[in-house]
Subunit: 244 residues, 2 copies
DNA sequence: CTCCAGGAGGGGACCGAGTGCCGCCCCGCC
DNA sequence: GGCGGGGCGGCACTCGGTCCCCTCCTGGAG
């Protein structure tokens, strides 16, 4: 995609000079990773192919694994900012779902790159672990956002953690099947279905905050004691709602 | 099941011969980790304190991080076996919840050790990443179990992944707060509440095997169409129960 | 024009994790 | 007593990652 890696030793009027060494390193790395495998490629190989010094590699990427996920750091910052700029009134779960769509787009915007990366992460345990920690940071960001908004609910932190995990799992499910199909189909559509399933499971407000529900159907078997029936009804109605 | 490795430098009538080199390495490692920090401790330091060779360390642990989670490999095997030996009729979600209790017990059975480890994983990024991959393997085991049992349902794989993630998140939530409180309180009781929340959220969860439940509560919104209410009641009653 | 400051990059030394190989020694077995 | 195998130690090597110092390029001030 970039016109020419434009090596470091190469001087002369260069292009808008925007795709600097960083992109050249990513390209060189993926070329070698796909050609001879991740573990068979040393950082030395990458930098010699890119025509730069070994030291420079670690100026742009925190580790060898980091070059495989070059853009997640920025996206995480964007997601954090996106979540922090949300009004008080709106549904926090909806906001998190919107953030998930943002993350998914990071993959769907570059299908070939994402599929290539998937081939690597699927087979290299070290890359899987690194990806896990990346995803974990998204999840903790989501959970933090939900924790703030659900703090007044009973078990707010629990709900926040569980919902965040469920949303991320839905995203991962859609993403994985999209990647396995080599980028065929519309992942953005599929994630709507998946998120709808999650939101349906947790009601709309992140759990049994069921003020807006009007009908309660109780099915009780004969062997259930009455106190248990009552407790289930109470928990279905949600806390503080018993006397409405 | 090897007969007796018996300590290397130590001879003479020893104890039930249970604590071989492996345990000595774990103990030495944690002593140093807590005393001077994880990154400030080299494998060399550990093996000299334990009085063994450096090469032996990597015979017992796959990496320096591995010594911090010495027992998870076995527990994962136990969990896998536990799940594989489950009858066809029973609720797969309940089975997974039981497996989660098993995992939690791995922590609660050794409170001081778990709390010490928590202090490390909380502060050392490398250990966090390692723990993530450990937890991920549990989650994938759970998800695989659920995928098999929910294969006939629509979106079975999605449900399986989401439920597994939710269950693990509930476990983690309980575990974290228990660890932060330095092992005070009954985590096993707390995890019941958390799992109940998850199972409630997923209602039939993907598995309306509700033959053994006594009370079913369905809450419906006014705007929900009647056919949906009927379907909820039917699914609450479980399959083959409509005409009893 | 010169000088200086600062930042980007290169290079080399260094540390430590992880691996392969070999040799030892202590078993039990033949 | 000889022998083979497994557990263990020691050594050397690779490679990821860091530190420190050098060069070069640029640009602004005098």
């Amino acid at each position: 995609m970039p016109p020419r890696p434009v090596g470091a030793t190469f001087r002369g009027m260069s292009f808008p000079s925007k795709p600097p060494m960083r992109d050249a390193l990513v390209e060189a790395a993926f070329r070698l990773f796909l050609e001879r495998g991740y573990e068979q490629t040393t950082v030395e190989d990458i930098v010699t192919l890119a025509g730069v010094g070994r030291r420079s590699f670690f100026r742009y990427f925190p580790s060898k694994e980091g070059v495989v996920f070059p853009d997640h750091e920025r996206r995480l910052a964007e997601v954090t900012e996106f979540l922090s700029g949300s009004g008080r009134g709106e549904d926090p779960v909806a906001r998190v779902c919107e953030a998930v769509r943002l993350v998914l787009r990071l993959y769907t915007d570059n299908p070939t790159f994402s599929v290539q990366r998937y081939r690597l992460t699927k087979t290299v345990p070290g890359l899987r672990a690194y990806e896990l920690s990346v995803v974990w940071r998204y999840e903790r960001t989501f959970a933090g956002h939900l924790r703030e908004r659900l703090a007044d609910r009973p078990d707010g932190a629990l709900r926040a953690d569980v919902i965040a995990a469920a949303v991320v799992a839905a995203h991962n499910n859609v993403l994985r099947s999209w990647l396995r199909s080599e980028g065929e189909g519309d992942a953005q559509v599929a994630v709507e279905r998946a998120l709808a399933y999650v939101r349906e499971a947790f009601g709309d407000g992140g759990g049994p905050d069921r003020q807006d529900e009007d009908v309660v159907v109780v099915v009780s078997r004969r062997r259930a004691p009455m106190w248990q029936v009552v407790r289930e009804i109470e928990s279905a109605l949600g806390p503080g709602e018993e006397d409405r």
